[in-house]
Subunit: 313 residues, 2 copies
């Protein structure tokens, strides 16, 4: 499970940093991937990543400001040109449908795949056999959402060596044991699921927030997450400006991470006034409050481990 | 007078080549510049050029396909963020106003300068003391325009040394002579303008076409131009595909240049199937018909000389 930042700049691109987009790759999804936000130039950044746009499966927009949105028409169009034929699910705040329909209609862009646009509210946004995605409204100048992706726990591994030793024939009985049911063999012996199935693998929780001021709903949505992606548009000396524009500072992002009890904080969405060289000092500011913080670097894979072992680094 | 290609790829970006945009810098415009088309990522390309987005003065859109259009909302927004306060004139086919108004409204983008949107028809699009811009409709899948920029001739240089020798006092008489009027001095001598003013400097004619199949109106618009910018989406072996999609091949672009009697042809808008390494062979194909052809290279200045001396190169 890996997260890639395709853009970490707020408002507009600068040399070496693009506007917001995040790609998420999960092993369950067999080569497809998800994305969060789609600033202008996101399709260009994908060309520099291992992701193939035609395999994009779901795209979640946090809010409709241009630096999170304006790459969408081009990306949707190129997904078609690059041979994407599978449906694409697009989630985002009300207004998203009008934006897509207007831009594609006026440019006479025809997509070679079904585009399913979902204008979201708070609550469960989508779920499948592996993940649940919930959304909550944050506190920004316009409607801005955070997404909480919960990976469902996976049942433990079947101890096939032990089963062979116990004389359990492979087949449907294995399935019963794996799904937690005890079985009785023909000779009357009872085999308990718990004896032959390892511990379940806990699911991971990833929370990606849109632009926001510090707010209770951000803390609630991020509660106990393995990874929180939080904007830190400004350094702490610009806390007044952050408030005025509905943004957070490095310290405020860290305070939310701490209050929510998350395990790892990645800060991003840095004002274009900050060059790549400034990011270390932004990171250091956050770490004063929440030590396990990293300032996101573009086009670098962030692996999200299943355990909490990374807390020790 | 310099032309810069900010993108030479048709349809979508590839590694090292972006979608269409062209910047034009003229000495008369004192540090401001004009642009033609604005594919996604144009503002990113400007960051790699000497142009300052805040100094963009006029922007001409040839047609509303996404690869010529989708960079516009982000570019307009960033021009504001970068301190552009002077008015911006935006020209393009009907539908342009709705595209801009919808994208800026939904994203709640507020510009800190007057944006003047002009939906064009064929004929004169704009004119000032130095240039006239005319448009003509071409032959593409949707309305597509070409622009003809005519630089007005500049009056010749006043020979002030000779005037001093003749005893003509500097002042209003100089202006009269420079503007072509003969004068009579107090002692009755007549000074003829033609004797003291050098030859006028001829104006240049630049023609930038939108996507098009070969058509008479392209030839008419380009007639006698110093420089013609023409799409060559496909090599000649794909002439059928070019026709099907309303595009031109390398040979067809060259045939239009020849029929119009232009002095120089720059081909661009190469299909994303062609890498940078393929451009030399596309150029070679055009040169079979029209020898003074160059395949446009991104982020390289093309100086447009006032004389026809470059014909000899």
């Amino acid at each position: 499970m890996e997260l890639w930042f395709l853009g970490t700049s707020a408002g507009m691109p600068i040399a070496n940093r693009n506007v917001t987009a995040i790609a998420l790759q999960m092993p369950q999804n067999r080569g497809t991937f998800w994305m969060f936000d789609c600033g202008e130039g996101t399709q260009h950044q994908l060309l520099r990543s291992p992701f193939r746009l035609s395999r994009l499966e779901k795209l979640f927009i946090t809010h409709l400001h241009g630096d999170h949105l304006f790459g969408l028409p081009g990306l949707l169009s190129s997904r078609s040109s690059l041979g994407g034929t599978e449906p694409l699910d697009l989630y985002g705040p009300p207004g998203l449908r009008e934006f897509i329909e207007a831009t594609l209609r006026i440019s006479e862009t025809h997509l070679g795949y079904p585009l399913r646009i979902h204008e979201i509210e708070e609550g469960t946004v989508c779920e499948d056999d592996f993940f649940t995605v919930e959304a909550a409204k944050l506190d920004h100048r316009i409607d801005s959402f955070g997404y909480r992706i919960t990976e469902l726990p996976r049942t433990g591994v079947l101890n096939t060596e032990l089963l062979a030793k116990l004389g359990v024939p492979s087949g449907p009985l294995y399935g019963s044991l794996k799904s937690g049911r005890d079985i009785t063999l023909e000779d009357g012996r009872i085999i308990r699921s718990a004896e032959v199935v390892g511990n379940p693998l806990p699911g991971r929780i990833i929370v990606v927030l849109g632009d926001t001021k510090p707010c209770d709903s951000a803390i609630e949505l991020a509660r106990g997450a393995d990874l929180l992606v939080h904007e830190a548009t400004f350094a702490n000396d610009l806390v007044d400006k952050a408030g005025e524009y509905g943004h957070s500072t490095t310290l405020q992002a860290a305070e939310t991470a701490q209050a929510a009890g998350v395990k790892w904080l990645l800060i991003t969405h840095f004002s274009s006034r900050y060059s790549s060289e400034d990011l270390a000092s932004l990171e250091a500011e956050s770490r004063i409050v929440f030590s396990h913080t990293d300032a996101a670097v573009e086009l670098k894979p962030y692996a999200i481990p299943r355990t909490t072992a990374r807390n020790s680094d």
